[in-house]
Amino acid sequence: MATASRVRRQLPVSPWLFAAPGLLVIGAFVLYPFVSTLINAFTDRRTLIEGEFVGLANFRELLHDDMFWIGLRNSTLYVLGVVPALVVLPLLLALLVQKNIPGIAFFRSAFYTPVVASIVVVGLIWVWLLDERGLVNAVLETIGVGRVGFLSDQWLLLLSAMAVTVWKGLGYYMIIYLAALANVPRELHEAAAVDGAGAVRRFLTVTVPAVRSTMVLVGALSSVAAFKVFSEVYLMAGPSGGPAGEDTTLVMLVQRTGTGLTGRVGYASAISVVVFVITVALMLLVLRADRRSET
């Protein structure tokens, strides 16, 4: 290899050429449309009617919109409910499938299937399972618990949607943890075992510190995804967001107000901007907490 490359010492490849395709694509299809969303947020534009500049009127209206506060509450609850589960459970799962025992390859792939299935399919499956007369309730009834209105109670609906998010996310984050665990030197575990540390202590003193940065990454990724949750709640609670709209999340509200032929694009854009600002803040918060705990 070295001999070949000595001939052509330095190709004129600019670093920008490497990044250019990526920047071009996200620039044209994500950032540029988002800039127009930013501009729309200050207009009263509707789907088929060009808007006029209205200053901060959309944001003022937000403050008095009950549905906005319900959405903010639900999206926040979603982060609080889903993120701890998605930081911890996949790590435990990764530890479970890490050891090479016979058949483990099968289990690893099997645990990944929910990630592979599309969210629409997952929604169809779970609505069918959690239905009042579905499988889960049939089982609950036979063991004497009685039927539970998973899909009709405001809070159970939100919890069910969170459970589905966690169910679908387990395998995804398990993979990320598996990669990180492969980096943990075996000697560390062995040393701890020789010291007589039990499994739980080894987990807390060896494993957790070793994958800490991955836990932060998973925390950041899952909290951003959780705050922007749409499909799970939309599919399970319906387009109007559960009973009296009490399960509406912020992105559902963006979709509901902004789409269709009578969509209020301006107002929906204002909500989008708020969602964006909060996710940026969330990201910074997680990263800062990480830095602080590091020192």
Binding site: M1, F18, G22, S109, A138, L170, I175, A179, V254, V280
Partner: protein, 283 residues
């Protein structure tokens, strides 16, 4: 049979039992729902699927529901379109994300931080709010109603770029420095040293890209008008919209949508998991 762990130590029997019990429990939880769907799809028209207690195995298994799906929508044409779109998405994402990720992680130039920031911001944008703007851009490019338009917006995902960046960051500098001293240029260092070391992450990106393209519904629906170009998820929606009450048929449709992905993943999984381990080279 003696079962040993990676370091050759024998695993105690009780630990093995515990592990397999846990594994089977999680298996039931993750795969059970799919099997229930499969079972529903195989039940014949005379079988009552609403019985309680539930009937787990179909009484007289039949492929009739799959035939009906194929009669209703051109499943094979749609699947072919989905394959085209998903394959293209895998190629563009692997190439584009690897290039950009390498630039962000390894190359020194002005504006690197800004470029990184651009990708991070792109990851945070709520997609639901920008779909019409994406459509008008596509129309201005004269690409609407083509499969290219389906691929383009997601062809280099910001998330994938950042994943690749992290993978490259985790590589030890020393090897590349040695190559640099040997006179290897950027391109050679990238293709011969860096890229082979991040195969695992590339496999992850490939699978994410395939899934993303295979599962997308709203964007293909909006950008495509011509039924001959529809993808499988749109076809599935026909089923759901047309036979919403026929649980068996919808189940057959979902199985058709999921099965190829599971098959693909089953084929790739060995490489995928080994790659995941390898990709995380000791940093």
């Amino acid at each position: 049979m003696k079962v040993t762990d990676d370091s050759g130590r024998r695993i105690k029997v009780w630990e093995l039992v515990l592990r397999y019990t846990l594994l089977l429990a999680v298996l039931a939880l993750t795969v059970g729902p799919f099997l229930w769907q499969l079972s529903t799809s195989l039940k014949g028209p005379t079988e009552n699927i609403y019985t309680s207690p539930p009937q787990f195995l179909p009484g007289e298994p039949t492929l009739h529901n799959y035939e009906r799906v194929a009669d209703t929508i051109p499943v094979w044409d749609y699947a072919l379109n989905s394959v085209k779109v998903a394959t293209a998405n895998v190629v563009t994402n692997c190439v584009g994300a690897a290039l950009a990720g390498y630039a962000l992680a390894r190359l020194r130039y002005r504006g690197r931080r800004a470029a990184t920031l651009a990708f991070i911001l792109a990851m945070l944008v709520p997609v639901e709010g920008i779909i019409i703007a994406q459509f008008t851009t596509m129309r201005d490019l004269g690409l609407n109603n083509t499969l290219i338009a389906v691929v383009l917006p997601g062809c280099i995902g910001a998330m994938n770029v950042l994943l690749m960046r992290n993978a490259f960051l985790n590589l030890p500098y020393e090897i590349e420095e040695a190559a640099f001293v040997d006179g290897a240029n950027v391109w050679q260092r990238f293709t011969r040293i860096a890229l082979p070391s991040v195969k695992g992450t590339l496999a992850v990106v490939a699978i994410f890209a395939f899934m993303g393209a295979w599962d997308d519904f709203l964007w293909p629906l909006i950008v495509l008008s011509d039924p001959s170009k529809f993808t499988l998820t749109i076809g599935l929606n026909y089923l759901h919209g047309t036979f919403a009450n026929d649980e068996r048929l919808v189940a057959a449709g979902t199985v058709i949508a999921v099965a190829p992905l599971i098959a693909l993943f089953a084929c790739l999984q060995r490489y995928f998991f080994r790659g995941v381990g390898e990709g995380a080279v000791k940093g």
